[in-house]
Symmetry: C2
Subunit: 423 residues, 2 copies
């Protein structure tokens, strides 16, 4: 048999097993799910040396292939990161079980009792980079929400993910849950991704994590609904009535706390009316922290160390110590810039003017809008939602942090006493 056909059959078998496991997981009691999560945490700790050895092999191979140091850093596991994974699973176990929660309940005049009840999504396909910790996080969240997961991590983390998966399988077995609740695509062959995206009879939602090219491919090829985190072109807007000290503090934190996360600020906007007062101290503080500034003409007149910004800069997610800066003609232009160039992820206004703030919060069309706070708060944990699988930038189903609750859906449960519908 030809290889592609054999892979197609393997993928279909994975899908079928996942569907079957999802049916069992949907009715699994909280106790069993939490027991599996805690057992998995313990097994990660107990098998630390085997996991780290597998990871060392992955890292060595990736280095041989010339992977960048940032890539190797994401791939590398150590005792501390392994412990963080184990603790993460225990935190997920401690979360409330979302399944079965009544979201609403009402009675109709004819006596029908209608409840909207939370249920699992079903089978979740997750496609991610070579970050072994995502294997545990994503599987843990899916498991807690009563779903079955099909994981497809980056090929460079194949050995690490396999070692982590073995712990998850042992833990599921211990808890009396089906091992097929967490499966991995068995090959690094990129064709497997395309096949996963066409398994619409068995997979209910695809969650891609990764660069723009992966997400675009998923959108183009998937016949399955996608919960995607596209990119974070986040803005901080200094309104003319911004507190100058707060402007410095929030802008520096939003850009520089961690430059590589999706909630990092990529563009700073400032009202023309107060730019000469507000901007210089902000830009000076950023430059002293090692940030490159790319500004429009007004910005460069105020800060000679700034380089010129091009149209492309307003559309760029640097994920680095670079910031584009633009002076705008007030609130309307700021909102319009953000809605035009942003990625509908996370945007913040700094102002002491409550009315301006409310207009910004209402009219900026992003998953997260903030007033007087750093964009780096764009995170499920910071929102108090527990672990997350990413920040969704689409508009349907889940917008913002995707945690356990966002990995569920609902159904209507209607209780009657023999009602029939009149003609």
């Amino acid at each position: 048999m030809d290889a592609a056909l054999r892979l197609e059959e393997q993928m279909t078998a994975i899908g079928r097993r996942a569907r079957e496991a999802a049916r069992r997981m949907a009715n699994a009691p909280r106790k069993a799910k939490d027991r599996a999560l805690r057992a998995a945490a313990e097994l990660l700790r107990r098998n630390a040396s085997a996991i780290l050895a597998a990871n060392a092999e992955d890292v060595a191979l990736a280095r041989e292939k010339g992977a960048s140091s940032a890539f190797l850093d994401r791939l590398r596991l150590d005792e501390r990161r392994l412990e963080a994974m184990a603790a993460g699973l225990e935190q997920i176990a401690a979360l409330e079980d979302p399944v079965g929660t009544e979201l609403a309940r009402w009675r109709r005049p004819n006596g029908l009792d209608i409840a909207r009840v939370r249920v699992p999504l079903g089978v979740v396909g997750i496609i991610y980079e070579s970050r072994p910790n995502v294997t545990a996080d994503a599987a843990g969240l899916c498991l807690k929400a009563g779903n079955a997961a099909i994981l497809r991590g980056g090929s460079e983390s194949f050995r690490s993910s396999g070692a982590i998966l073995a712990c998850l399988h042992e833990a599921l077995e211990e808890a009396g849950l089906p091992q097929a609740a967490v499966q991995a695509v068995p090959t690094a062959d990129r064709a497997a991704v395309g096949m996963l995206l066409r398994l619409h009879d068995y997979v209910d939602v695809i969650v891609p994590r990764g660069g723009r090219s992966l997400i675009e491919r998923v959108y183009a090829e998937s016949r399955i609904p996608v919960l995607a985190h596209l990119e974070g072109i986040c803005h901080v807007y200094l309104h003319e009535r911004a507190d100058p000290e707060m402007a410095v503090r929030v802008a520096v934190n939003a850009k520089m706390r961690r430059t590589g996360i999706c909630g990092a600020c990529e563009t700073l906007l400032c009202d023309a009316a107060k730019a000469p007062q507000l901007l210089p101290p902000v830009l000076d503080a950023l430059i002293r922290e090692g940030c490159e500034i790319r500004g429009d003409e007004t910005v460069r007149a105020l800060e000679p160390r700034a380089k010129p910004a091009s149209e492309e800069d307003w559309r760029t997610e640097y994920l680095d110590a670079i910031l584009s800066v633009r002076v705008v003609d007030g609130l309307d232009e700021a909102i319009s810039h953000i809605n035009t160039y942003g990625s509908h992820h996370t945007d913040s206004i700094i102002t002491e003017d409550a009315e301006a703030a409310e207009r910004f919060l209402r009219e900026v069309d992003s998953a997260i809008v903030l007033h007087n706070a750093s964009t780096q708060f764009a995170d499920g944990g910071e929102f108090g939602m527990g672990a997350e699988i990413g920040i969704a930038t689409g508009r349907l189903h889940a917008r913002g942090p995707v945690g356990v609750e966002q990995l569920t859906t609902f159904k209507y449960v209607v209780r009657g006493s023999g009602q029939i519908r009149p003609p």
Copy 2:
């Protein structure tokens, strides 16, 4: 310029105008939206003769082309149907405005105040059959939810829809809202549907209404998220502890009240243990009402007028006075049959056994599950949700009736006092 290219440009222009209108609609006050809805209702009444004349032309042309009588019936408007459309718009105006509602609000230990606030979906593309009333219903629901709509009705209703659209445009104008909040695809060319499905920069969600082939095409071609109503293969399951009188009443209503709606029952299941007692009166009542029965061997032994059912029958949405009937070996087999052959739409158990009912409600994986009630209640109005655009059978975002609320999404509004995220 070549025609396809010109159409592509027209479609892009429609998308761009819709996006711009959606931004204005998102911030439109309730008063303006309701004024537009009420004005549209009045204009439909005032322009009744022009609309009916346009519709008469559509009907004459469709008849010439040999359209079926069922098709002509859906296409045809009369005074009564026009009044129902107008009244429908007034009912939508009377609904609460979902936009701006706080769905949840909490405070974090660092003082951040986080609210989850309902906002419009954005631009909604609706593809539907030649049913002119959908033009008013769909536009009205989108308008109320603060969205912009791009409508693509069946080509045979082109004149009727155009006349209705003219009323909507005049009403939007009267209320000071952008006419581009409701646009129609300007051609009956099928290529326009494909173009609409690729307008992902401008359209946020596609709502297809129609037969299986349309929905499958939309799923295959769309790069935009889809809220689809696939089909309604609905079941009534007579548990061994069903009340015999209720079994007859509910089964007959679920099948025969209206056979052409998606909530009509297509398969009846009955426990083997009580089939000889429960089934004969149910089947006799159905046959007397003109229903054809297709049964398995046991069914045919109990009711000689039943024809044999094939495997295909369990997967068929008849939308007609035909019912497939199967005898099952208890609750487990009933649940498994429904989850395997059903379309995850609406399914009902008839039983006096509360425990069996709760297991059925929990384990049947459908948008709507009922106990002791007719499947024909699968309807937004019957749920008390007001008008609806359809019943979603997908799992993401909206499941079950898609009304005004389901045409919205949410964003997180975070209010701070200068908080920055610690390292």
